[in-house]
Every structure is written in C-alpha cells, then in structure tokens.
C-alpha cells in the first residue's frame, strides 16, 4: 500500500524546521529495512499553527504535532505499526487523538475554501485535478454564461473581502455591460494586518483561485485577467505563477479552453505595498501603472473599470469558493451557513488565544465558539475584545461574544466581517494605545486624495497621542468624535471607515479614555508616559 506523508511547509511551520523534517523523512524512508516507502509531500497550511510543524499520514489520517527533525525515523518506522503516541494531539479531556477530525480544534470547522490546503502538493497540478480540480470549470463551460451567474445567485455567495457585497450583482452587471473587451481581476493584495487567509489559500491551493477566476471570466465574458498579489507574498507569487503555466499547458488557459471556444488568459501584477490598493478602484489604477488612488463611484468598475472597460474585482477567498459552487451546485452551497450569509468563512485567529491558526467555519457560529471552543480561550489573563475587519474594522467586547458570525450581525455591532483577520485582545491591552496604533497605520497609508481622511486622520492621531501621554483634555473626546464623523465623507470605503477603530473603542471602552485623561493613568499599564504615576 502506498502512503503519503504530508508535511506542512507553510511559512510558519518552515520557520520551525519543516524543511528539515521533510528532508529527514525522505532520507529515513530510503533505509532498506523500511517496508513502506512513502511519498513525502510539502503541503500548505494545515491550520493549527500554534502546534506546528504538523505532519499528516494519508490514507491512515494520522496527524502529528510539534514534530521535530529527529522524529523522522520514528514516523517512518511507525508506518506499518502503531502511531507515534508522543506526537499526537491531546484533547482537553486528556485523550490522545489520531485524526484531525477528532481534534477539538477542528470539531466545528468545515473546509470548503481550504478543501485542498494542507492536503495536496500545491506545485503539482495533477494533485489538484485528482481532488476534483477543474471540474467546476468543465461544468461552467458546459452551460450558458447566464446559468453560471444563476448558480452563483442561488449559492448566495457574498464577497469575502470585507463588505459582503453579493457576487452575483457584480457578475450580472459586468455580463450585461456593453463592450467587447472585459476584464476580471483577482484581488490578492491582502493588506489587513493580522490576516493571512488569502496567503494561505494562494500558497496552499493556487489552482482553486485560478479556476475561480477562469469561471468568473467565462461568466462575464472576459478574455483577460489579472491577479494583483501582495508584494510581501513571495511564495504566493511563485505558486500562482507556476499554477498559471501548468494550467496553460493542460489547456485550462489560453485559446479555446477545453474545446469550448472560450479564450482566456491571465497574468500576475506584483503589488507595491500600499494599503489603499485593496480598494478595488485603487487596485485598478495600480494595475494601469498609476498611483493607487481610488476613483469616484459611480461609474462602477462593472461598467467602467480597468482601462475604462467593464471589470469585476473579486478577492482570493471569494474566487476559491466558485469552483466548489459550480461543481456541487449553488443550492448545495446555500445549505451551509445562515440565510443571509451562506457558506463558510476563513479566519486567521490570532492574538492572545491559546491556539492561534487558520480556521474555516460555517457562517453563523458565534464569536464565543470561535474564540473559546476552537481557539481554546485566552492564553493568560482575561478576554477583553476581538478586533475584526482590519484597521478600519472595529473592536467587539465581551458582551457581544454571542454574536453570530455573519456579515450583517457584525456590521450591526459597529465592526465588520472584514477579510477575516480576528485578533483577540486580553486585559494587558490598552485600548487607547491600540486605537492610536490603528490611526497611525491609517494616517501613514491614507492615499491623500480626500481631506477628511488625509487631514482628519492626522488630527485624530494627534489627539490620541496626547491622550496616551496624559496631555489631553476631556473636550478632546468631543473633537475626536466630530472628526470621526466627518471622515465618513471620504470617497472610498477605506477612507469612510477609517474612524471605526476610534468609534468602537470610544463606544465600548470610554472609561479607559477617561482614565488616561482625567486620572492620568493607563489601566493596562501600557502607555509609558503614564506608567509610574
């Protein structure tokens, strides 16, 4: 019987020696006394980064955690024997478990977007094809464009980049737009600090994104596409580039794709580190070779986008859902999650939780389940809040922990789903300092086009800096709120939401602001200027 050993070689496991583990496994398996010769594969993120490096044996479905290079011989020797007990996961009830499914970290998870991540060799297209890869594309090409869009409508898929805009509306708009030349763009400029979902997808399963993009192109009638990928993501760029070349060689890209008469090709554009380029019109400007400054809307990109042609921009995770929807049917997808937010959401669950890592859960589970049941709760100290939606998202305090994870419920709480970064804070975090941190990030990244964002952020940052130094007056809070209100007048969604971190901290943690101003003290003991008072 042949066995596969899947070694997680995502950046985080690599930094803990995954490469050496893979090499040792290969050399250990060459020993002539070894009966079973396994195939060692370097795969993408298997999820529980806190317990990496992770190694999984297939088809036995045994996963080992915190593997060291010295463990290789024991793992190889165990292939026709009992599992290596010391490397198994131990659940909170004290029981050691072999499979990932039995590990409490994965109990509530459902892998749709991450269906292949951590299971296939991302650099081998046949691995993807063997997991039903490009089946969604075949299905799409066998039906009319309108029917593809209908499937997406039935699925209820909403954009995963943050706002939750219905994907069908964009596709329909672009399909109906007049013009022979149309474009599709994959937004891989994952700019929210604390988020690595899109990186993990591109690194671990690049073809799922590419297949989604080809289907999108067919649906709207585009013959050319771009993948705009974050400059910092070297591995993603290499993997997607290799995927494009392999897909072209197999006839999934190029002229007359799979004999359907449909032509499509795409290329990567390397982004250049500007947060604002995550906004779709700024991204379009950037692909055109300009500074990334958002355009006014309308006209929407679906009518007038890249080089003024009808264009859709979808993010990585959104596109990775598309092949699944086409292959399984929109109705099947819509069964997952809740009515207004179907499917799953991938999160990078990080910060002060016991089990930081990459998770994918059905929409509708609560924040409490995500943070405490999956994340294992807080490492040390007490839960204070969770930050969602990136720098222009917001903070959700303990009293809202039972909110379900869906686009509308999170928005109603004053935060937003965002792209999926979920950063958990404990009581050692000073909310005022954190709000200052976000403002300094946003002030630096503001493209400078609109006054309320450009100047407003600087003024707000100045106030926050004075508060953290104990130099502010209580009246400053009123000015802060006024400026926060005014920033909504900015052109783009990033500008209009820049004040979210300030608004939500003021809403939920006003007492901390007041403690800094009135008592000149920092309750969390973070702000240095107030430390010894």
């Amino acid at each position: 019987m042949s066995k596969d050993i899947l070694v997680c070689c995502d950046i985080m496991c690599l930094s803990k020696g995954a490469e050496e583990i893979a090499d040792n496994l290969i050399s250990a398996s060459k020993d002539k006394n070894v009966n079973i010769k396994p195939l060692v594969k370097k795969v993408g993120c298997q999820g529980l980064c806190a317990k990496g490096p992770m190694v999984t044996i297939m088809p036995d479905n045994i996963t080992y955690y915190q593997v060291q290079p010295e463990d290789a011989e024991d793992i190889i020797a165990s292939l026709d024997r009992e599992p290596v007990e010391r490397l198994l996961h131990v659940n909170s009830d004290g029981k050691a478990v072999c499979t990932m499914q039995e590990n409490e970290y994965y109990f509530m998870q459902k892998r749709i977007v991450l269906r292949n991540v951590g299971l296939i060799d991302p650099s081998v297209i046949d691995d993807y094809i063997n997991q039903n890869g490009y089946k969604g594309l075949k299905k799409a090409l066998s039906i009319k464009q309108k029917q593809v869009i209908k499937e997406i409508e039935i699925s209820g898929l909403r954009g995963r980049s943050g706002t939750g805009f219905p994907v069908k509306v964009k596709w329909q708009g672009c399909y109906e737009a007049i013009g022979k030349t149309k474009y599709v763009i994959c937004n891989g400029d994952e700019g929210d600090p604390g988020a690595f979902m899109d990186r993990s997808i591109m690194d671990g399963d690049p073809h799922s994104v590419l297949e989604g993009l080809i289907i999108a192109a067919y649906a709207v009638g585009a013959n050319k596409g771009f993948l705009y990928i974050r400059d910092e993501y070297n591995t993603s760029i290499d993997r997607v580039q290799a995927a494009i070349e392999d897909a072209r060689a197999k006839g999934f890209l190029g002229q007359n794709i799979l004999g359907s008469g449909f032509d499509f090709d795409c290329e990567i554009v390397r982004a250049a580190r500007a947060y604002v380029c995550g906004e779709e019109t700024a991204l379009i400007e950037s692909i055109e070779g300009k500074t990334g400054m958002p355009r006014k809307k309308p006209p929407f990109p679906t009518n007038k986008g890249l080089w003024d042609k009808p264009t859709i921009v979808n993010n990585v995770e959104t596109l990775a859902n598309v092949p699944y929807i086409l292959a399984k049917g929109g109705a099947e997808f819509a069964k997952i999650g809740v009515k207004s937010s179907t499917g799953t959401k991938v999160f990078s669950l990080v910060g002060k939780v016991k089990n930081p890592g990459l998770v994918e859960v059905p929409m509708g589970i609560t924040l409490r389940q995500l943070i405490f049941d999956i994340g294992g709760g807080i490492k040390n100290g007490k839960f204070k809040c969770v930050q969602t939606g990136g720098p222009s998202g917001g903070f959700i305090p303990a009293k809202h922990l039972d909110l379900p994870i869906d686009f509308d419920a999170l928005k109603a709480s004053g935060s937003m789903m965002g792209s999926g970064g979920m950063i958990v804070m404990d009581d050692s975090t000073c909310m005022v300092e954190l709000a200052r941190y976000f403002l300094s990030f946003l002030a630096e990244e503001s493209c400078g086009k609109c006054t309320p964002c450009r100047e407003g952020l600087r003024c707000m940052l100045d106030i926050l800096q004075r508060i953290t130094k104990g130099e502010a007056e209580i009246e400053d809070l009123v000015i802060l709120e006024d400026l926060a209100y005014a920033s909504q007048a900015s052109l783009c969604v990033l500008g209009a939401t820049t004040a979210n971190p300030v608004m939500t901290t003021l809403k939920y943690f006003r007492d901390e602001f007041e403690a800094h101003i009135k008592n000149k003290e920092c309750p969390a003991g973070v702000c240095e200027a107030l430390a010894n008072e």
Binding site: I11, M12, E190, D231, E232
Partner: protein, 157 residues
Amino acid sequence: MESNERTIEEILNNFHPEDKYALAILHDIQKEYGYISSHSLKAVAKYLDTPISKIFSLATFYDAYSIEKKGRFVIQICNGTTCHAEGSQDILNEIEEALGIKAGETTSDGLFSIEIVHCFGTCAMAPVVACDNTYFGNIKKEQGKEIVKKYKEKVEI
C-alpha cells in the same frame, strides 16, 4: 560585485514600453540596485515616454520602492496588529540599538537597513522579524540582538 549588476537598459528592455509595466520595472530596479536612483527615474521616464514626475510619484507613493539606497541586509520588523500587541516595539528598540540606526535608516557601511513592515501574514507566530527571505517567529527578548549578530557574522564570512 558591481559588474554583475544588470544595466538599467537591460532591465528596461525586458518590458514593452507601456505604462502598465511601470510598477514591474520599478520592482526590478529596486531588486537589482536596492533603490531607485535619480538616474533610474530618468531612464524609466524616457523609456515609457512619460514625465519624470509621474515615475517619481510612483517611486514615493508605494512603500515597496525606496529612493534611498538600502543596506545589503534589510532587517524587517513586522508591526502588524498582532505583532504590535505582542511587543514588536521592544524588538524594534533592541535591533535599533544593536545596529545604532533607527527604522528607515541604513548603516554607514551600507550593510544593514531597518524596515518596519505592516504584516507578513504570519501572525500565528507573532512577533515576527524577517531578513533575506528568512522568517523568525515568536521572538523573545534578546533574540533581536541575536538576529543582528547572525547577519553580522554572515558579512564577515
């Protein structure tokens, strides 16, 4: 060492002279020389038949480019939200002290630069420092200095 560098013309000739390649050209120049010199700016503007002010604005708008020469080793300290909450400021202070320069500066021997990065997307091992495509996670006190030492030794070899 200098003789191995590609000339600006060699870089430019890999691209069609179209505006959409401006970013890609600048990426290649940045990678080759460690910065975008005024000579490069002029050459790109001429090649793309566009005002130099436009190329200058690209080179200064995007953080991926620098108009000042970077060191041979760029030590990148992540200051994403998670790293920030996990104490990236202390690591930055430690590395600044070890190299005797501030973030954004380059040592006078041209060997080291310090750069603050918004997020590497490796937050599960925050705080993170990277250099030369190697990532160091879960950095504790004193480890910042060790990283500097490690690269200083590399220079000596």
